[in-house]
């Protein structure tokens, strides 16, 4: 499996790339990191699913399993200063952008040591230190935030790039068309990354989407690409080029990444026969799994042995299990924290809103 060239689907600026584009990551260290990051995401999700099935996790969560090559291929092209916005299916983006298992599991379990002190949970994990502006529980809800982060970078004269992750379901939201228009008008350094896993919650997207997604972006004069989202090197190669160009003012870009969600819409969506077949699921898992296929390629290239692959899997699984064990024993936030962090500069919101405590500067 060689890095597959992304299908170019046009765009007015398509002729200008090349010189500025950095070559795809082409050394062993990068390959190994990408492999490990994908295995980490899968291991995280396997543990999260078990937490749900064993009733140890409050609420629901949405599994990223199957889509690992998208988050890793793109985030490996970014620096810690570059920003992403994520989705309800966001654990993969969070891991790929550099987050730690322990704080992530603490967040999923509502513990004080979680990334958001347990106040966000699975659907709102944010990891500002690594440029993750947060998952978002409104489908398409972060499209404005991502585009605004790109506007901010431009106003501040910085060269940070923002990647806006969203699913095919989110392309039905009007907000996307509003912000694409402005991003194109103002040449903002934002990349709209649509992970097309084929399903808008419990409905096949091709039943509810007219025309092609790339054509929608192209209507705004945005250069659009479509790439196999199961091939991490193809994703990374494209992301490297587009991030570099966006850094130099050639954005925005749109990328449609064909991928597949192994689980249902969320962990509780077990019986899926009414919207997709088991054969279809088996086909993707058995023939197009991004981790298995990349592992085979690493083996074929002589970078890793079969034993190495097993060892990496075991090591990361053990790491995830240890993080879960830690999180299950971690403390919940104190009750007094319930009205903290409502307002910046205000310790406790309840006395503040009634006028009995002053906030900072107000």
């Amino acid at each position: 499996m060689a890095a597959q060239a992304a299908k170019k689907t046009g765009g007015s600026r398509s002729g200008k790339e090349g010189g500025a584009a950095k070559a795809a990551k082409a050394n062993t260290e990068d390959y190994l990191r990408m492999y490990r990051q994908m295995v980490k995401i899968r291991a995280f999700e396997d543990q999260a699913n078990q937490l749900y099935l064993s009733a140890k996790m409050p609420g629901l969560t949405h599994m990223y399993s199957g889509q690992e090559a998208v988050a890793v291929g793109i985030c490996e092209a970014l620096t810690d200063e570059d920003r992403i916005t994520s989705t309800h299916r966001g654990h993969g983006h969070c891991v790929a952008k550099g987050a730690e298992f322990r704080q992530m599991f603490c967040e999923l379990l509502g513990r004080e040591e979680g990334y958001c002190r347990g106040k966000g949970g699975s659907m709102h994990i944010a990891d500002q230190a690594h440029g993750n502006l947060g998952a978002n529980a409104i489908v398409g809800g972060s499209m404005g935030i991502a585009t605004g982060a790109a506007l901010s970078a431009k106003l501040q004269g910085s060269d940070f790039v923002t990647v806006c992750f969203f699913g095919d379901g989110a392309t039905a939201q009007g907000l996307w068309y509003e912000v694409m228009n402005m991003a194109a008008l103002w040449k903002l350094p934002v990349i709209y990354a649509c992970e097309n896993n084929g399903y808008s919650e419990y409905t096949r997207t091709d039943e509810i989407a007219a025309g092609s997604l790339t054509a929608r972006a192209e209507a705004f004069g945005i250069e659009a690409h479509r790439v196999d989202g199961q091939e991490v090197l193809a994703v990374n190669e494209l992301a490297q080029r587009l991030v570099e160009r966006a850094r130099h003012g050639e954005g925005p870009f749109f990328v449609e990444l064909d991928t597949y969600r192994y689980h249902g819409h969320h962990v509780g969506d077990i019986n899926r026969d009414y919207y997709r077949s088991k054969d279809e699921e088996a086909e993707w898992k058995e023939r197009r799994d991004p981790i298995v296929n990349f592992g085979k390629w690493l083996e074929a290239e002589g970078i890793l042995s079969a034993d190495d692959l097993v060892a990496i899997g075991d090591e990361i699984r053990a790491e995830a299990e240890a993080a879960v064990a830690y999180a299950l024993n971690a403390s919940y936030p104190e009750a007094g924290e319930v009205d903290m962090h409502v307002f910046a500069g205000v310790d406790h919101a309840l006395p503040y809103i009634d006028g009995y405590a002053k906030g900072a500067g107000a």
Partner: protein, 332 residues
Amino acid sequence: MTREITLSKAVNEAIAEEMRRDPSVFLIGEDVAEAGTPFKVLSGLVDEFGPERVIDTPISEPGFVGMAVGAAMTGTRPIVDLMFGDFLYLVMDQLCNQAAKQHYMSGGKLSVPMVLRTNLGATRRSAAQHSQSLHALVAHIPGLKVAMPSSAYEAKGLMKTAIRDDNPVVIFEDKLMYQDKAPVPEEEYLIPFGAANVLREGRDITLVATSSMVQVAAKAAEALSAEGISAEVIDPRTLVPFDEATVVESVRKTSRAIVIDEGHRNFGVTGEIASRISEKAFYHLDYPVQRLGAMDVPVPFSPALEDLTVPTPEAVAKAARRAVRGEVADAA
């Protein structure tokens, strides 16, 4: 030195001063640059600060409000111009699900130092979709601060405080007051949030009024004064935070209260403030707390009908007389 300037000019000065003070402040919205908004509030700012900091957008309210949220989360301080308060409905997800909750959902890691300035007020003959006073909608949402200036002086001081606040602040200007003048110092000043202004002291009744209704209450108090009724007039200035202590203290003194606000009466600001008075000053009350709000109908176009929907000084004075005389309140 104090001079008289319009509310419009006061807002313009506040924004210009803060943009000079802090290069991270910028303006974004529809027709904010050369047009200076339909009310001309922002006229001239693009000349001083350029189109990079005074950004004209397409007519895409959710889009530019969402972008302001993202910009605020990443090191800048946007002032969003929402042309009419009625357009709040278009931006509710970005304002209430995104801006209001980022700080909390991230456990305090992310913040949204953003001002959304918009307007309220009927009797401009603009009918049901350009005349609403929707501040109660946003005051209901934890994480948003809400300021309600009632004069040029208030508008300037509250706007400067809003711009320096590290949270999303929604500031409602009364669109009928843009040309009203008031004394405004030339020297810099800020008005803190959560500190009510007692415009007029009185013994017999407390009139709590917001924004456009402050002048209505003040006129009523003047008329009542000629009849020997001494009314205290309080402008809370901000709904979130709300200076409950000043209001409660006043009612404990006067024993009577009327709350006047241009939002719809049903499930709105008047009910909230009246309830706080009832909770905290119950044993001091000599009369049920009265409420005057916009009539609970869509704002009609016809002047003959529209004028019936908004509280007037006469209506406030009438309610005050009945309260002071202890007349039985209307059942309906």
